[in-house]
Each structure stands twice: as structure tokens, then as C-alpha cells.
Symmetry: C2
Subunit: 66 residues, 2 copies
DNA sequence: TACAAATGTAAAATAAACTTTACATTATAT
DNA sequence: ATATAATGTAAAGTTTATTTTACATTTGTA
């Protein structure tokens, strides 16, 4: 699965730590999701997308191997 | 988090086992997600929504406690 | 009513998400 | 060039997702 978190963060001009704080997870969790170390839960995906004002599909995209 | 899986399944007229097979998880996993025993990964949410022809937000909805 | 299909559920095992702490590297501004 | 902020990463620990097997209950149908 791919994601556009880094880009959306840049548009909002917020750091990984900012985003983490806004959805109540650790900064490392955001870093790990953003760099595809693991797949977030649906609750986190919904919260992240909501902060960006985008749908989950606009932020996270399935790939062939998923 | 709430979900509309049961309703969307009814619209498509498919069983939990059918849905499970289509996204390559066990039937128990679908049953557990559908009855809110746990929160699916974003990959599963995207696959489930795609089968229903709906967005993730149309199938899964955040609640206050999330 | 009886049979079959669908759903609910439970326990044990494994994999994966997430936290905390801590430190290293990279980028940015002064 | 130096200080500071941001990001990358790692290890250990806890919690949660997911699988497998198995059985019980409910629902639909002949």
C-alpha cells in the first residue's frame, strides 16, 4: 500500500510530531506509517485522512501485492 | 468505529464467507470486523470498500471514542 | 419437521501494530 | 559553522489483528 502522507503534510506544513499529536499516536507511529514500515489501522487512516481533508482513498492506495 | 458491512453485504447478496474469500481473509475475520470485535487494517478496509463500490468513509465511520 | 447454510463464538497460536526510550542523521536557520 | 528542529531508526515490551480448528446457534428452505 502506498500513501501520500508526506505530501499532504507538506501542504498543511505540519511535522510528523504535529500530526502524531493531533491523532494521539506517537511520532514514531507516524514515521513508520509514512515510510511504509507497517499498515495503520482503519481508525488511524480515517483520522489521518480527515486531518488532510481528503478521503482515505486519496491518502492511501492499494498496490498489486496487497 | 461503526461499519455498514452487513448492509452492504445484503445489497450485494453475499455471505460473510463469500466476502472473506474475495479479499483473502478467513470468514472469522469478516465476522469479527462486522460485529466490531476488532478494527481491520487499512488494507482490508480499502479492499472491503472496493468490493462494495463505496469509499472507506461510506463503509466505516469514526465515533466519539475513537 | 428436518436438513442445510449461514452466522456466532471460543481457544490457542502467530503476526503485526503501537508505545516508550534513546540515539543518530539530516535539514534549516542564525 | 553552529545550534536547533525534524526525521530516521532500533530494541524491548504490550496490545491487538488475524488464522486455524472446532463446535454451537440461528435462519432459511424442502
Amino acid at each position: 500500500m502506498k500513501n501520500r502522507i508526506r505530501i499532504e503534510r507538506a501542504i498543511l506544513d505540519i511535522t510528523q510530531a504535529d500530526l502524531a499529536e493531533r491523532i494521539n499516536v506517537s511520532r514514531q507511529t507516524i514515521n513508520a506509517i509514512e515510510s511504509n514500515k507497517y499498515v495503520p489501522s482503519t481508525v488511524l487512516a480515517l483520522k489521518i485522512a480527515r486531518i488532510f481533508g481528503k478521503s482515505v482513498e486519496e491518502v492511501f492506495e492499494l498496490e498489486e501485492n496487497d
